[in-house]
């Protein structure tokens, strides 16, 4: 990853009458980064991305990609950008290799049959190459969309919710593909409402809610800053041990029959275990909890995302 900014967004707004779909967001994306726009449905992620893709005209603000103002001249950078729209539907009567050949023609790329097959293998669609797109499953259509976004060998990829509709294994495989693309030096901007996806893949996460920026940092920094303390769940404590725990000054809370102990700054799990042993507190076992991006998101927004929607 370099310090060169591929995308610079400044005070970007998109208003539809009184509705502020995007309300003054600013960020920049560095070359070779995976940059995630994270937020529930209606946060303004897709509107922001579609303005960057030249599909919507901003109400105000500026978007520069490869140093070009996209509101003035998106055409000059189209060949360097690959796009998977959120609501992508493939051309229904084309088979996957035909659709790839079509896009190769649009991007002026020469592709042999082997090249097409290789790309289909990359998105795990080679076994479905003789089927017209209409008959592909939702996940397979998504994979075809990703293949089409890759046809032009773009420097910059916009992937709007790329793993929606994919099963767990296919999602992980796609994560691997995206990491490989980043390693090749490509820049990826993805929108997602999967918190684990953003945490696993992103170099930087841009949390959006109600059209505004809530936070922007690497997943680790967001977790450190907003994820809360690490904790241990102590199982199998009897009433006496719980009394001793309370008397020993632990920062704790009851979780049904168990006890949750918060690990303080500079403390380790081993330190806690020593303290438990020295206080003669009896328990059967324990589990440790590291804060995640979901914890950070909950603390930032006041809820988590379930099926794309904010759940409080």
């Amino acid at each position: 990853m370099s310090n060169e900014s591929i995308i610079t967004v400044t005070e970007l707004k998109k208003h539809y009458g009184d509705i502020k779909a995007v309300d003054g967001v600013s960020f920049d994306v560095k070359r070779g980064q995976i940059f995630s726009c994270l937020g529930p449905n209606g946060a303004g992620k897709t509107t922001t991305v579609e303005m960057m893709e030249g599909l919507r005209t901003p109400t105000s603000g500026k978007i520069e990609i490869f140093g070009v103002d996209v509101t003035q001249d998106y055409a000059s950078i189209r060949h360097r950008v690959g796009v998977l729209p959120q609501d992508f539907i493939p051309f229904e009567r084309l088979k996957a290799p035909e659709a790839i050949a079509y896009f190769a023609g649009l991007y002026g790329k020469e592709m042999t049959k082997d090249d097409v097959n290789k790309l289909l293998e990359t998105v795990e669609l080679v076994h479905r190459k003789d089927v017209i797109a209409k008959k592909l499953s939702g996940g397979e259509k998504r994979k075809l969309g990703i293949a089409l976004a890759l046809v032009g060998e773009p420097d910059l990829l916009f992937l709007d919710e790329p793993t929606t509709g994919l099963d767990a294994q296919a999602r992980r495989n796609l994560w691997g593909l995206l990491e490989n693309l980043r390693d090749e030096g490509r820049t990826i901007l993805l929108t997602t409402h999967y918190l684990d996806e953003a945490e696993k893949l992103s170099d930087e996460v841009f949390v959006m809610h109600k059209g505004k920026e809530i936070a922007r940092a690497s997943p680790q920094k967001l977790i450190e800053q907003y994820g809360g303390k690490r904790s241990m769940i102590i199982h199998g404590c009897d009433a006496e041990s719980i009394q001793k725990l309370e008397a020993s000054g632990f920062s704790m809370e009851r979780v049904q029959k168990d006890v949750k102990l918060f690990i303080g700054e500079g403390e380790s799990v081993r330190d806690i275990v020593r303290r438990l042993d020295s206080s003669d507190i009896l328990y059967t076992d324990f589990t440790t909890n590291e804060p995640t991006l979901e914890d950070a998101f909950i603390n930032l927004v006041g809820g988590t995302i379930v099926s794309g929607e904010l759940s409080k």
Binding site: L55, P85, F91, E98, G105, L106, L148
Partner: protein, 367 residues
Amino acid sequence: MSRITADLKAFAIQYLRNPFGAAFSIGFPLLLVICFGAMFSPSATPDVHLLIQDLDGTPMSEQFIDTLNQTTISYSGTFETYMTEPTYDMNESVLQEHELSGAIVIPAGFEAQISGNQSVDIIVFLDESSSTDGVILENVDTAIVTFEASSSVSGQYVSITITEIDNGEFNFLNFFLPGIIALTIMLNCLMILASLMADYWSHGYFKILKTTPLKKWEWVLSKLIWYLVVMAVAILLLFVVGVGLFGANVTITPIAIALIVAGTLLFSSIGMIIGALAKHTDTAAGISQAIGQPMMFLSGIFWQLEEFPPIMQTISKFFPLTYLGAGLRATMLEGNDILALENLAVVVVLAVVFFILAVKLIKWKEK
């Protein structure tokens, strides 16, 4: 150029994989020609009923009639002749009324002129658009050669003057074929393209294409090229069926080709405008039907405009299909190139205006 080729190829594959679209594009007009052809054409080998009128009444004219009756040429249908009185007023309506194929009038002075070594004209009434005209002419020609070779004549004196009649036998199919070509262009380019545009909107295809290097005008041009190809195939088929199967008597002229190209551009542009404004397949289909159907019935495709009430004739002047149909009919059927060029000029001007409007109005971008 490679982008246009790529788009054209992908569109062609999708079009050909949609059997309903292809069937409607070509099948519907073809069905109309077959229906009208079957209704308005006689059997494959029509019988010939030839009326003969002898205004001379001399041995030599009788000899010619005998020769004519004895002449046999290779013809699978029935060939019959009938005599009529010299006083009978021979004209077109008589032939139409009695459903006759044609008539021969031997003029008064036939024998006197031949005897005086002067040439004489036999008048042959014919419908040149009918498939029986060749049979009649061949028969009369053969009879003349035989007659002139006889000992009583021994010389080439007899010639033929053809009087064109219109017995209505193929009239409607001839009238209909250029109209159906115009209708095919309108149906395909206006109605189908309007729905296609809306389909592209509702499926988000424009959104995808907008992110690629394909330019809007390249997409529009690729559709125009494809619909010209479809039109060429459809019109060729209409011709094969109309002319080949039912013997329609129309010809393809350079002006007709220019009209077909300009008409395709015109109706494709209108279709794209409707599709761009409607954005939903059902709405686009509704609007294109609301525009296309009155145009289909009020543009002189099925009936001659002169038969319409004056108000309808005035309304028809606002329909582009009127000019396309009239132009094609003028050049393909009537050979009236001046009238055809006038109509071509209207179609070309409208095509340019609507094409510019289409390119301006089609937006690939969301608001």
